[in-house]
Structures are given as C-alpha cells and as structure tokens.
Symmetry: C2
Subunit: 129 residues, 2 copies
Amino acid sequence: MTAKRNTWQREAVREALNESEGFVSAQALHSHLRDGGSPIGLATVYRALADLATQGEADSLQQEGESLYRACTPGSHHHHLICRECGLTVEIRADEVEHWAKAVAAEHGFTEPNHIVDVFGLCAKCSRA
Amino acid sequence: MTAKRNTWQREAVREALNESEGFVSAQALHSHLRDGGSPIGLATVYRALADLATQGEADSLQQEGESLYRACTPGSHHHHLICRECGLTVEIRADEVEHWAKAVAAEHGFTEPNHIVDVFGLCAKCSRA
DNA sequence: AACACTGTTGATAACGAATCTCATTACGGT
DNA sequence: ACCGTAATGAGATTCGTTATCAACAGTGTT
C-alpha cells in the first residue's frame, strides 16, 4: 500500500503557488516561504513543485535555463499569455491551435503529438511604461 | 570601427550545425568537432552558437534544462515538428498560428507579442518501433 | 611584408539550477 | 501508543553555462 502522505510542506507550497501572480521559480518560492517564517527546505519545494506539475495542478515552462511554475485550473488543457515585464499571466484556451498541432503532426507521419505553445508580450499596464 | 572577424572556428561551428540532423546541444557539437580532429574550445562553441542564434541563422529551444540548436533557413519565421526519439526535425510554417497569437495578445491588451510554438511527437520511423 | 590595434580564443575557474544522499522526522493505518 | 515507511532537509554533487584573462590571430595601415 504505497500511499502518498499529506504534509504541511506540500500544502504550504500549494498555497504559496496560488498566492503568486504569474510564474515563479522554485528558488523564488522557497525564499518567499522562508521569509514568511516557514522552515521548509529547498529540496522539498523542488519535489513538491514537480509533483504538482505531474498531477496537473501546476503548469511549468522553461525560461533562461530555469523552470518556472504556476498554479492552474486542474484538468483543463490550456496555454498562457505572459507579460515579459511584470509576469502577469492569462490562461488561454485555444482549440484551433490544438487541432492545428494534431493536423500538422499527422501530416508528417508523426504520432503522439505534444506541443509547447506560449505567447509573451507586454501587458496593457507595462505597455504604457 | 568595431568589426566582426571571420575565424575558422565560427565557420567550423556553422558547418557542424548544418551537418547535424535535428537539434543538438553545444556540448554534443563540441564533442563532435573534437572527434573530427578540431581543437576548438568549448567556450567558443557556446559563443558561436549564441551568435548564430542572434543573427537568425540558427534556432534554439530549451529541453530538460539545456539549450539545443539547429541550423535554419535565415530570415523566415517558422516553427518545428520534432521527434522525441531520434530528434528528426521538420520546419513548419504556420500562418494561422501567427495570426492567432497576435489576435490573442491584442484581445488581452498585450503588445509586442512573441511566441514559442513547438510540436513534439514520434516520427513515422520511430512510431513503428 | 612588417606592424599595431583589437576582437577572438581557450583552459580553467566560477556560478547557478537542480538533483542526490542519507540520517532523521513524522504521517497514517493498526 | 506503535510500527512501517514515505517524506524531509542540510549539505554534497552533478551538470550546463558563463566569466576571467593571458595568449593569439584577423584586419587595415604603412
């Protein structure tokens, strides 16, 4: 009976992730938690984030050689519109793109298609500055 | 008169990149060059690849914490269909996606939209195995 | 062709993100 | 309360990438 246990650390990471606007790095999240008085370890934050991503409770993307994470609505496939400046993130559904990806893959004989689709830009607020 | 100089090292990297099928890491390219008898340094390979990417002669993507590079047709915006197994890569044009990305960005007040779009899958050959 | 100027190279050190180790802790069922 | 074992965490380790800096080599000039 290998069972997954519930620890306050995992919950702390989940909460901290939910409080964060936009994508954050594991290290940033760890610092934030420590600043908040939590004695949580860095390795644990990495593990918790990896788990959350696996379970579909968090999305991740790679930027400048590091992984960034963000809480997301579980069970729904979606993509992100991200502000390069402030990190503000909007979830976007894009059925057209899903179909396109699948079609393009099939067209070239590829199977089991995955895809990475992210849009970066400057949000309205940052555009004015 | 700050001028960029032509060295055999840069040319060697460009050639090695053109010979490679699919995306390769800087380290892999360096090993390949050394195996071929070239005494080129690792740092130089990194610099050359970064330059090529900046000049639009190479595309790069991040996978599992490392940057991969590939020669590409300069001046043309395109995306990639990549085999997870063997690395075979196909350049794909996708005007629909370009428009979609621009539209979605504008819709949410975002300006200067960039986007990352890559499709992964198993190519016909690898699908059979 | 010799020269000087300066961009480039490369061995190595340094850095940083992420993972591994392993003794200790603590969750969860009995 | 007890036990089995998953989870934790401080530190060491791995690994990709970048910085350092003295030696080198393109490039334009004389």
